[in-house]
Symmetry: C2
Subunit: 223 residues, 2 copies
Amino acid sequence: MSKPTKKKAAAEQLAVVTRDPEASVQDILAVATEEFAINGLSGARVDQIAERTRTSKRMIYYYFKGKEGLYQAVLEKAYMDIRALEEKAKLLDMEPRAAMRKLIELTFDYDETHPMFISLVSVENIHQARHLTNLSSIKELNQSVIRTLTSILERGRKEGVFRADLDPVDVHLLISAFCFFRVSNRHTFGAIFDRDLSDPKLRKRHKKIIIEAVERLLEVRKS
Amino acid sequence: MSKPTKKKAAAEQLAVVTRDPEASVQDILAVATEEFAINGLSGARVDQIAERTRTSKRMIYYYFKGKEGLYQAVLEKAYMDIRALEEKAKLLDMEPRAAMRKLIELTFDYDETHPMFISLVSVENIHQARHLTNLSSIKELNQSVIRTLTSILERGRKEGVFRADLDPVDVHLLISAFCFFRVSNRHTFGAIFDRDLSDPKLRKRHKKIIIEAVERLLEVRKS
DNA sequence: GAAAAAATGGACCGGTTGGTACACCACCGG
DNA sequence: CCGGTGGTGTACCAACCGGTCCATTTTTTC
């Protein structure tokens, strides 16, 4: 990505960048991400994307082959960026209950701060994940969350603080659903119930609720 | 809707319906619902909708003014159909915990059996609920669920089986999020974690999980 | 039963949109 | 310094698509 090629090095020396392919690609991707997230796949306009870019429409077709290719690249990049969450998740060799709490908070905060990503996933679901199936890399990536979660649950079970009859993916589904829905459906939910889900007060309360819900769900019972 | 007009009565007598405006409208709405749910607002094609209808494109503009008008009508109808859930919810003068359980099951089953509705709501969220704000009728309608939920929580609190510090809308959010997400994100979630969320086995398990999560969340604690 | 109104069909249009042809320029290796 | 390759801008097109015009037929009204 940022590996300094001869070309780039020369350009930096001159302080006047006449051409910068890598930057062009990134620029297009950044603009396209917004456009696709706001307007959807069919709603986004290639001309509009091109115009907001410092390059031209020609470049989009040069680098991404077409609208669908660009969309797929945007989707892939968006999913790859969750790597940040994965890295932080490595800190999870703390006590099981604290680790679980931290994992929920990370998920909650990530979704909250990445509404673009949420929108893109929604768009992709409307298209029945047709483009996602081409991206095999993503599968492996996201399953690392499951591995982390499995490890936490396992440790908790051994220590006797977590029950043993819950599937890690199901737990992930519960957490994801709440965090994702809050953002993905903020407009309709907000309109119907007159609530601004981006209100910090609500955000804090909701974070507490999902944490409490999961904690209680995981508790061991005699019944 | 089904109020027998002279027109309709005459048509039924003849048993040969040469023209049936009401049926035309309903036919268009049914087809348009599918098209908008599958392709989104921008993705859906008026010609395609018209072709699948037994009438013509001309009729769409005659009855619904335009593409946006048709979309709005589709959205309104979809939301109105939840009335069915509302009616069943009137049965909720049972014991609080049983009522809560029933309410969750109804929500779960409704979302499960109405993927079209889920898609439409997702589409509308991508468009920032721009069209929903025009439909003031929907607000009143959906808030009846909250009234029901409030009543259940209140009764439970009086009987000492539910805690008192939870907002009904927040509880509704938790339930909705899980039920909705399971359907709305079935494609991406399914692709990434190799799960068919429509598998009856999973469905049963997930229903149990959301019920258990809410039940435990509502329990009274000394802490 | 005629006139008014509602409903319908089909051809057509003009702007939009994804995509491309062509010419050209910058950069690097030799 | 020169030739090839990779990168870029402009102008353009053909198909598509939302929307409308005009004519016609059925239904209702009186």
